[in-house]
């Protein structure tokens, strides 16, 4: 019996006080005792309930903590799975483009009405470490390659890039293997979503033979002021000196396929991109002997190319100039010792109805080795990007050759194209 003295005194005092108020109703000691016992029972019950509530609260706290830990662990796991999937060291990408040409030439024998799945390209890359990586590009041109008795076939399967690149530090790299040369605009960045026109421009086909790749080694660097440089030593051209393609640079590409390497070539590019929207670049390329054979009348070659790209808001302007100088008796006699070309291309890209439309015009002037490769051309058209990586294109072209003898090849007409990259 845990009746405290204080409680008893309080109860007696209360009872006495009550007695003073009601003298007619005397309070017995038994009644007080019963009252005390009842209240004590109530106190005991409340104490027990309080203890139970505290225990329950503690248990709830503990359960909440366990639930929170489980929730965090689940979130950690889900995030980790997602991160691992995104951090895969092997990457796959690609691009492709199909063209429809509808060109009417002065001589109808030279008309071109054609549908061609021009390029289907797959990229495969792998990061061995954070600083050592592999990159490759495999291309199927013109949709079909077939084995024929006479050696003719529809297209080509080409390995356009396959190199190992190593970062020396945050600003410098070296690479070795088969890589695209750092020259011009289209050569390195030629996904169809990145340029205007169904077909690539002619200067970067006839003068700069894009896509132009060679096997070799290179080194480069880039800095916080926007300057960068690239230097490469690599296989050179093997240009023909006779036949219909004589001295045509594009026909000299060996594509690193059992490439004759008697005389190597060198490429140096300097680039400035220190102002957003601006790119200024120049390339010097030297061929020790662009035929890989001495005494054939084509001794050495030098290519200089400069370009600028300036974009501000929706407006953009691209301009490129390139020139080859070849030494040798035969090439001079063929009037192919100097081959030049330039183009200028203003454009505007607008967001209309939440989708991007780009409108452009381009003027090109080309003086290549062959008579048919000497012309100027106007072009205008538009690109429509329903999403960033898909493009539909339209253009209209009007080409006029420099020489009267080639006037039958003058044409005008339109092209349609669809392209993608991922």
């Amino acid at each position: 019996m845990r009746v405290t003295l204080m409680t008893l005194l309080i109860l007696v005092a209360t009872a006495t006080h009550a007695a003073e108020k009601s003298p007619d109703e005397p309070i017995s000691l038994e009644a007080v005792w019963a009252l005390v016992q009842g209240q004590q029972a109530e106190i005991d019950q409340l104490t027990a309930e309080l203890k139970a509530t505290k225990a329950q609260l503690k248990q709830t706290d503990s359960k909440a903590q366990i639930t929170e830990e489980q929730l965090m662990a689940t979130a950690d796991y889900v995030d980790e799975v997602q991160r691992n999937r995104e951090d895969s060291r092997t990457s796959i990408g690609g691009y492709g483009e199909m063209h429809y040409n509808n060109l009417d030439a002065d001589d109808s024998d030279n008309d071109l009405k054609e549908v061609d799945y021009h390029r289907f390209v797959m990229f495969f890359g792998h990061e061995f470490t954070d600083r050592i990586r592999f990159f490759s590009e495999v291309e199927l041109e013109h949709a079909l390659v077939k084995d024929t008795a006479d050696g003719s076939n529809g297209g080509e399967v080409e390995l356009e890039q396959a190199y190992i690149e190593m970062d020396l530090d945050d600003n410098h790299y070296v690479r070795s293997g088969l890589f695209i040369l750092p020259v011009g605009i289209i050569n390195e960045t030629h996904e169809p979503t990145t340029f205007y026109g169904v077909e690539r421009n002619n200067v970067e086909s006839i003068i700069i033979p894009a896509t132009w790749w060679e096997g070799g080694a290179g080194v480069g660097g880039h800095y916080g002021n926007g300057l960068s440089w690239d230097f490469a030593v690599h296989s050179g051209l093997e240009m023909p000196t006779t036949g219909s393609s004589a001295f045509q640079v594009r026909s000299g590409r060996q594509k690193a396929s059992n490439a004759v390497a008697n005389d190597l070539a060198y490429t140096l590019r300097l680039k400035y991109t220190g102002v957003p929207g601006l790119e200024l670049a120049g390339t010097y390329h030297y061929e020790q002997d662009p035929t890989q054979m001495s005494g054939d009348g084509l001794d050495e070659g030098q290519l200089i190319s400069v370009h600028s790209i300036f974009s501000r808001g929706p407006f953009s302007l691209r301009a490129l100039w390139a020139r080859w100088d070849f030494d040798g008796e035969s090439v001079k006699l063929a009037n192919a010792d100097e081959q030049t070309g330039w183009y200028v291309e203003p454009s505007v890209r607008l967001n209309i109805g939440e989708q991007d439309w780009g409108f452009y015009t381009r003027y090109e002037d080309v003086r290549g080795a062959r008579d048919r490769d000497r012309f100027d051309q106007w072009e205008l058209g538009f690109n429509y990007w329903p999403t960033e990586e898909v493009v539909f294109k339209f253009d209209y072209r009007d080409r006029n050759h420099d020489l009267d003898s080639e006037s039958g090849r003058d044409f005008n007409g339109f092209d349609l194209g669809v392209g993608y990259q991922f």
Binding site: R83, S91, T189, V219, E279
Partner: protein, 191 residues
């Protein structure tokens, strides 16, 4: 002979370089946060991306975000570490948002083969003071880099997400603050 000399120089450069094999990290998250909060880096908070917010973030980014995003907050200033895919690889960047406008952008890890320009101040300063407009786009134009359009767009998307999340956190804080003020007022009235 000349050729051999050049190749020899390149090989020697490669072989002698001590940095090969280490990480391509331009600034660590710790140093970024230390610069963002020079007095003291606040404890990290966690923002769970619940249904609507998750949908908004997913719509902006080119990838699904994690279940929650860590951030650091000191009053009206928040810092975010975000990832988004450029062309092939994720770019990791830190964003500091002050009173609803971007104050600082710093690329922490860049893994793409093109577009190295995005990690330098001459590019990132374009985001300075950018806010979200009513359409959820940045209030400032960001000029691109030729050949690195996708990296530039990834940076722009991350900037939008940082501003979106900052706005969400500030709203939550305002909600808590209003509730707290209401609770205090109620207590005072009952006294």
């Amino acid at each position: 002979m000349k050729m051999r000399t050049i190749l020899g120089c390149i090989m020697a450069l490669v072989a002698s370089h001590p940095a090969l094999g280490s990480e391509t990290v331009y600034e660590t998250s710790d140093s970024f946060l230390a610069a963002a909060f020079p007095e003291a880096v606040p404890a990290a908070s966690v923002l769970w991306l619940q249904k609507n917010l998750r949908a908004e973030v997913t719509e902006i980014l080119d990838q699904r975000p994690g279940m929650r995003i860590r951030y650091w907050q000191d009053g009206g200033r928040t810092a975010w570490l975000l990832d988004d895919i450029g062309k092939d690889k994720p770019i990791t960047a830190g964003f500091v948002v002050q009173n609803g406008a971007i104050e600082k952008v710093q690329v922490l890890v860049f893994r793409e083969s093109r577009g190295w320009e995005v990690k330098y101040p001459f590019f990132t300063r374009q985001f300075h003071k950018a806010r979200l407009n009513d359409g959820g786009e940045l209030s400032r134009d960001v000029d691109g880099i030729t050949g690195a359009t996708l990296s530039v767009r990834a940076m722009t998307r991350m900037a939008r997400v940082a501003l979106l999340l900052d706005g969400h956190v500030q709203q939550l804080n305002a909600g808590h603050s209003n509730y707290s003020n209401w609770a205090k007022a109620s207590e005072a009235a009952s006294d």
